[in-house]
Amino acid sequence: MRIPDVLRLSGQAIRRYPLRSSMLLLAISIGVASVIALTAVAEGARRYITGQFAELGTNMLVMLPGRSDTSGGGLVGMLIGETERDLTLDDAIAIDQSPYVERVTPIVIGTGAASYRSRVRDTTVIGANAVFQDIQSWQLAAGRFLPQTDLDTLNPVCVLGSVVAGELFAGNEPIGEWIRIGDTRCRVIGVLAGAGQTGLFDSNELVVVPVANAQQLFNSPSLYRILIETTDPSRIEAARRNVIDIVRRRHQGYEDFTVITQDAILTTFNDIFGVVTAALAGIAGISLIVAGILIMNVMLVAVSQRTSEVGLLKALGATRRQILALFLAEASGLSLLGGLIGYAVGQTAAFAARVSYPIIDFHAPYWAAAAGVGVAVASGLVFGILPARRAAMLDPVEALTK
């Protein structure tokens, strides 16, 4: 039998039972579409988040308090009474002396009630310095950013996020006005342009003050992070060792802090999202196996519906292999068609998501799209074998009397 004839005959059989075929197509296409849509979401999230970190730049080091390495040291340290030291402004100033280091931004984060006359609003308060604007790539809508000063200098000024400015001042000019944050007062010197989420923070919903003021406000000497800009991206590893050395000496020889590179963050996020994407694809893939069982069921029904037809084909000289090929072509044709429909639906959903949320690039990875359609066809073939074999093994005399 010629291959085009096999395809034509099984195509006729598929069209002959439109309801049955369309139910099966629906089941398979839902499976494939969900593989594509879910992996597109996970992949989009991965690109979005790693993109955010990529904005940090390749010459950035981030220092945070506490050891990320829990193997050894941690437990022993706890037993012998070692306590974790905070990172302090003095640590940041010491790091700034390193020849490898271009600029340092110590960061303090907390929340506080910002008020202007009778208006009060809870907001995120970030303590930073002038460099922070560059790191975050923030644009100003009005005024200027924090001035260049020594890190430990108190300076009662602040820069408002666009939403905070709008709500506190309700359209009035904020620049030059004094607002109250917690127990301290500061003068508004700038308003950020409403860029939304940039870098690690939502620039709409915050107030930026000099780091020394933030420490006073929160009454704590500890820093949330120290962002370190190195002089030469190609010598980032040397810079990392040097910075670790400086702070360890200041911490009585204990390395009770962690320094990470942008590279390490990106790798970590890529790893995490790789696992998430694979897990989502796996979960959606299970629906394809379920669809495969449905294929088997439908094909078993098809074989018993067409028993006499199988008998006829045998009487007309069809071999077992030909009957097997016809039913397998029908099962895999259905699953291929369902896979392609699901592919189209999934990609359309990803496209719609990209249009609705242009900030995130929802794209299913190629392997997921290929695996979705591939698994659909494979399950059609695998689960089609049993019914097709049953048809091929039918006794022609009995089949003809059905």
């Binding site: 002959r16 009487a315 071999t319 003809l400």
Partner: protein, 227 residues
């Protein structure tokens, strides 16, 4: 052409074994016109299925064109069936989703013939049974007699040496039945061997050779001299 010796076919029915065919000897030459008659359960259909290679004998030898079919595997039997034997059934066995032409083409599709050649041959056969103008109709758009004519066209499309017809007029009215018989006799006149299983004594009596079966044995085998 066909040579049966000591053919037995048993079926278990409950605890008992029914001898559907009991040591049947039969020779069929090229171009013969044979009717097989007998009461229900006498083994007529089983004999037809064995001759048509749809069923295997439990004992005895069957030679078709000097080949012992017991030695052939399933694929070889399928090929032999395709080349040598045409089937006509009481219930037509047309495939309802295909047109008359496609139904007639089907044996050639299974044989892997090229589309153009098989379409020509199939429409030629439909012309021969008088259905040329209705070749693109589907079975549900045809009368019973027309359906059986499609089935006849399908049975002869591969140039078989024998056509096996199991109650070909059983589902038809008298007039359509007579047309079918006329077509089969015309084919026989052109040299095709025709074997008809029937309950109808009028039809059975028209054949040049009548075989009567009782309890799986051939009880009567008489040839009428041509009139």
């Amino acid at each position: 052409m066909i040579r049966l010796r000591g053919i037995c076919r048993d079926y278990p029915v409950g605890d008992q074994v029914v001898h559907a065919l009991d040591k049947v000897d039969l020779d069929i030459g090229p171009g013969e016109y044979i009717s097989i008659m007998g009461p229900s359960g006498s083994g007529k259909s089983t004999l037809l299925n064995v001759i048509g290679l749809l069923d295997r004998a439990d004992a005895g030898t069957y030679e078709l064109e000097d080949r012992n079919v017991a030695e052939l595997d399933d694929d070889e039997l399928a090929a032999l069936r395709q080349q040598q034997i045409g089937f006509i059934f009481q219930s037509f066995h047309l495939i309802s989703r295909m047109t008359a032409l496609e139904n007639v083409e089907l044996p050639m599709v299974l044989a892997g013939k090229a589309p153009k050649a098989r379409r020509e041959r199939a429409s030629e056969m439909l012309d021969k049974v008088g259905l040329g103008p209705r070749m693109s109709h589907r079975p549900d758009q045809l009368s019973g007699g027309e359906r059986q004519r499609v089935a006849i066209a399908r049975s002869i499309v591969m140039h078989p040496s024998v056509v096996l017809a199991d109650e070909p007029t059983g589902n038809l009215d008298t007039k359509s039945g007579a047309e079918i018989v006329a077509i089969l006799e015309a084919l026989n006149a052109q040299g095709l061997a025709v074997l008809i299983v029937t309950h109808d004594p009028n039809l059975g009596g028209r054949a040049k050779r009548s075989i009567g079966m009782v309890d799986g044995r051939i009880a009567i085998d008489e040839r009428r001299s041509p009139t």
